[in-house]
Symmetry: C2
Subunit: 326 residues, 2 copies
């Protein structure tokens, strides 16, 4: 069998089966691995690989932005557990033809995120590559014991919330791929795609609120990402499409080009906002910006389901994709 038939989730299932998580540790299957420490703290670890031609096109993404994004998406995984990032490790495979100026700009973007979130680069590996650039970042973080937020923590009756507008990143990517004319709105969306802002402070605030249950970051789009929470928590969900938060820039650009903002929000990914569930009481106490978009419902049996209220979600071109939980 080829990998193309097995699929990414088949591959992960294969790895999980062979490498069960040791007692007391959360291994494969959440945003981070969680390693308990003697001090009552937990060490969080996450790792992400970016391959030229799969995750980015070298002639499209500016090197500064690629450096930014490489660090930011990893910090976002720590944010998704409510942790504090403590350091990163960068592996870089570069063809011999790589420009030194390209590298300087890449490192500048990486350094800017690192400084902004006080997360030093502590090590890594540099090596040659026959042709394509390959980047791997591992991030370490920490959080007080028993307060990290996992995907499996959603409870019946929880509100479903996000920390910011959705769909910007997907619209920015679409603008790049369709080579649409740039105006300030388009530019803003492209920036949201290339320079996502990890919600580290927001994640920590949410962790301190005991009524906040499941949490993760939005990397694949809420249609797909919410499915992970529902699977891990054995719940269903209702989403009110009319409640999805859109930025002004997204509304303008969608109007201009006839794009559907709800489709971009649901099926498009890489917003790197936090998606979390909490009790209605806890929601009233939240001091960070957030938007309620739906609620968690009971599941009697079978596979998880999302009920989409307020629009014919089945008309989205990416619907099948997210319905199956990717």
């Amino acid at each position: 069998m080829k990998l193309s038939e097995l699929g990414e989730f088949g591959l992960i299932a294969k790895i999980r089966e062979r490498f069960p998580a040791p007692d007391g540790m959360t291994g494969i299957g959440d945003d981070c691995a969680v390693l308990p420490q003697n001090t009552g703290h937990q060490t969080l670890v996450s790792t992400d690989m970016l391959v030229e031609g799969t995750h980015f096109l070298l002639d499209r993404i500016p090197p500064y932005d690629l450096g930014w994004k490489s660090a930011a998406v990893n910090l976002s995984d720590i944010a998704a557990m409510g942790g504090q990032p403590t350091g990163t490790f960068l592996s870089l495979a570069l063809p011999a033809s790589t420009d030194s100026e390209w590298l300087d700009e890449f490192l500048r973007g990486y350094a800017d995120v690192s400084e902004r979130f006080s997360t030093p680069l502590l090590g890594g590996d540099t090596t040659g590559s026959p042709d394509r650039i390959c980047i791997n970042v591992t991030v370490l973080g920490e959080a007080p014991y028993a307060t990290v937020r996992k995907r499996s923590d959603a409870k019946k009756g929880d509100l479903i919330c996000v920390t910011g507008p959705l769909g910007d990143s997907a619209a920015g990517l679409k603008a790049v791929l369709d080579s649409v004319e740039h105006d300030p709105d388009v530019q803003k969306l492209i920036e949201r795609h290339y320079r996502p802002m990890p919600r580290v402070v927001e994640g920590q605030q949410l962790r301190l609120n005991l009524g906040v249950h499941a949490m993760m970051d939005i990397s694949d789009g809420i249609g797909s990402d919410l499915m992970h929470i529902l699977e891990a928590s054995e719940m269903n969900a209702e989403i009110n499409l009319a409640s999805l938060p859109f930025s002004l820039a997204l509304k303008h650009v969608c109007q201009r080009f006839g794009w559907n903002p709800a489709e971009l929000a649901v099926c498009g990914g890489e917003d790197y906002e936090l998606l979390f569930t909490c009790t209605p009481q806890a929601e009233m106490l939240l001091t960070i910006p957030h938007f309620v978009i739906g609620r968690i419902t009971d599941r009697a049996h079978g596979t998880p389901e999302i009920t989409w209220r307020g629009a014919p979600a089945s008309s989205f071109s990416g619907f099948d994709h997210f319905k199956k939980g990717k």
Copy 2:
């Protein structure tokens, strides 16, 4: 400027300059990063990237061996600090055409090393790749505070030792590349190349001996690796080529094909034995297998130098390479 002119060490220098290590942490420049913990322990972290076409040829290395080696070379970095590996993180970028059977064998090899050294796989990333396989492993480990062994710890008068025979791996690689006829000796050397054994137990034993000073694992060959110790410790060294330990298999194969075992030991890499320095008194107390190959000498000024005794080392084809410390 192209990366081919900058070189790997120029690239690392550039990264170090932009990302200085925070107080109390050892960042870029040793086998592992060292992060002090509140408990008096230290967390060790190392990461390595392997790219198809640069580090391995898919039609040569059996997938089991590639899985073994991917995990083993990372555990070796923890061994080189005298630490205990606690978990690994595996990122895999695979083309869609990858065979599921290939993957099973890769994971089996990775799992066998993991089990042998009680080091669970705790997470990772799986992703597509347009053509080549790219593998990144991050390993975490721990060691009691202030007892890790760094490259900068060598003292004048120290003996220079290794934990096992040298040159086997380089000879195994040469046998593969030259497609020489296999016999049991050749087979043994190829195994040493493809399935290196991280010296985890030996590293921990060495860490407990206070007279053991600098330590690292042999990945580039002692000519190049010893230079790292000399640079970090500001010392020189004398190596007695007649004292280099060779396996019987290496001696047989070198005799058969007219290869020079000393050249393979000095210029060839990937033996993954430990290279360490210690006082003569400490050496007498060592209970692990080891071989004394030279001693650390004072350096008045200038760049580090290795004096090679007992053979015209300058005749080795790789001599320039290791003389410059790579």
